[in-house]
Amino acid sequence: MSDPSAIEHQVAARLDRLNAREAILDVRGLVKTVPHGTSERTILNNVHLKVRRREFLCVVGPSGCGKSTLIRTIAGLEEAQGGDILVDGKPVHGPGPDRAMVFQGYTLFPWLTVLGNVMFGLQMANKPKDEAAREARQWLDLVGLEPYADAYPHHLSGGMKQRVAIARALAIQPRILLMDEPFSALDARTRARMQAYLIDIWRKIDVTIVFITHDLDEALLLADRVLVLKTNPGEVVELMDVPALPGARDLDSPALKAALIRLEGFIHAQEQAQAAEDEPVTPIVRLAPIKDGID
């Protein structure tokens, strides 16, 4: 904390180490189109991306730029129209246990207890029930919800639900954890706590995280690198290194402030371009004369 240049060196060293690792996720020239009337609309265009083992990558971009589409295609929930997605060097076809996902909405199974939810993926992999239960309890312990093992999801708060969802996703021991705005439905305090939890978990286990957010502060708090997408079609604008070490980060530090300004620059520039393209400029019509004595 004391010497900014010392931290700079540590960060650079860490990123070097990251870059020396093999790419666990390799997205090559990804193209995603959807039928649009008689023609096609390109949602993602030629996206290249390499994520290293145990990296924490955040994806940001204006609303509707294709962040969810990108992560859902990586998850195998949507098919790509072009390009390849390789996980550990193997091409992705459909969902697989090497990738787990945490969604924005609460997608816990309401008919299962908290423990049952976490056991679900283990049982799908044909683990015997008692073994699955034992493992699931360990994962619940990791997210601090062991005491709630027998509760049903509708008894939990939003933050607890997402913690269960994280435990459920991690229980299948994925190589990559995909998270699509997982905390955006939570209030600010809970979100801050969840961010701390997530970083803590990530540092304890061997998992690579791809995390979507529209909150630039969140991206700077969590990520090693931030991927910025642009809209229409969705393309990579920038892959920015975050100038801070993992753990408790201070958003007021000069390095992160500067990083935030850069990120805002990318997003803001696009939004202006977008607005200029979308809406014809409407002249402001004053309905009352300015000097009407009200002020």
């Binding site: 998850a75 195998g76 929930l77 459909g94 969902p95 697989g96 246990p97 990738r99 787990a100 996902m101 969604f103 909405g105 997608t107 199974f109 309401p110 008919w111 299962l112 679900f120 993926g121 049982q123 799908m124 992999a125 049903y152 999801p153 509708h154 459920r168 996703a169 299948i172």
Partner: protein, 300 residues
């Protein structure tokens, strides 16, 4: 509270018409025929005909008839129906089997039970498969959609020819009436499964039949249960037609017989019992549903 009131209102109306002599009462029940040759005690005559006879007899110096205002036989008073109900609940030991309300009802319930069981055994799984796999849906649903428009009673003669005259054709009619709706309704319910849950399950390794068994079925179970409740209500309405097929039987036979003998209080008692059994079982099932699926905070 309003729920109770909704029952009390019609009951009050019925009581008022039955017990207040100045409301309606278009007939006169004759207590003493006097010298009118075609009157007899207990018979009901139109009020104006009775008044004419009273006038004529008095003018002729003969004994005028006497009577009290009455409603037609087809509108018995609540207490008469209540007594009929009581008799139905406590049948005399010597009454013939098919004339007892309770045994008629029991016979009807058995028909419904078997018909609903047979229909559900095929209809529920088929509906779930139609809703889960679009290929199955496209293969079967157009035909089912068509068949749904063929009125079940139209198959009465056919059912008797194939299945004989006893219970089998009746069960068949209720099955035909229920099954096709059942497949379509359950397929629709299955399609309403929250897509996010299916996706979450897929990312956790659930596929195909496992996905259906471990996610689709539990996810729709509360709605499926409610569908079955509604379908059971429909099965009741097909029952009445079904029981007229072949040898008339069950509660329908009871009703037609009692109407033929002008025991309208028994007819009303039987209809009421149908309502009570139907509504009561529905309430029971609704309550059971809330207990079975505590995670589903149903709006119903």
């Amino acid at each position: 509270m309003l729920g109770v009131l909704s029952f009390i209102l019609p009951l009050t109306l019925w009581s008022a018409i039955s017990y207040a002599p100045f409301l309606w009462h278009p007939l006169v029940e004759i207590t003493d025929p006097g010298d009118v040759s075609y009157f007899s005690a207990g018979m009901r005559a139109p009020a104006d005909a009775f008044a004419e006879e009273v006038e004529a007899m008095t003018a002729a110096g003969q004994a005028p008839p006497r009577g009290v205002p009455a409603n037609p036989v087809y509108l018995p008073a609540p207490h008469e129906v209540a007594i009929a109900l009581w008799h139905a609940a406590t049948p005399a030991a010597d009454a013939r089997e098919e004339f007892r309300l309770s045994s008629s009802l029991w016979h009807s319930i058995q028909i419904i039970f078997w018909a609903f069981l047979i229909s559900s055994a095929v209809g529920v799984p088929l509906g779930i498969l139609c809703g889960s796999f679009s290929a199955v849906g496209r293969l079967t649903e157009p035909f089912i959609e068509f068949f749904r428009y063929l009125p079940a009673p139209a198959f009465g003669a056919l059912a008797v020819a194939v299945l004989g005259i006893y219970d089998a054709p009746k069960i068949a009619i209720v099955v035909i009436g229920t099954f096709f709706q059942q497949v379509l309704i359950i397929a629709t319910t299955t399609r309403r499964v929250e897509y996010a849950l299916l996706e979450a399950a897929q990312t956790l390794g659930a596929r195909n039949l496992k996905l259906v068994r471990r996610v689709v079925v539990p996810a729709i179970l509360p709605d499926l249960y409610n569908d079955q409740r509604i379908l059971l209500g429909w099965a009741w309405t097909y029952l009445i037609v079904a029981e007229l097929v072949g040898t008339s039987s069950g509660i329908t036979f009871f009703i037609t017989q009692q109407a033929r003998y002008q025991h309208f209080e028994n007819v009303y008692a039987a209809i009421l019992v149908l309502g009570i059994v139907g509504f009561g079982s529905d309430l029971l099932l609704a309550w059971l549903g809330r207990w079975l699926f505590p995670w589903k905070r149903t709006s119903a």
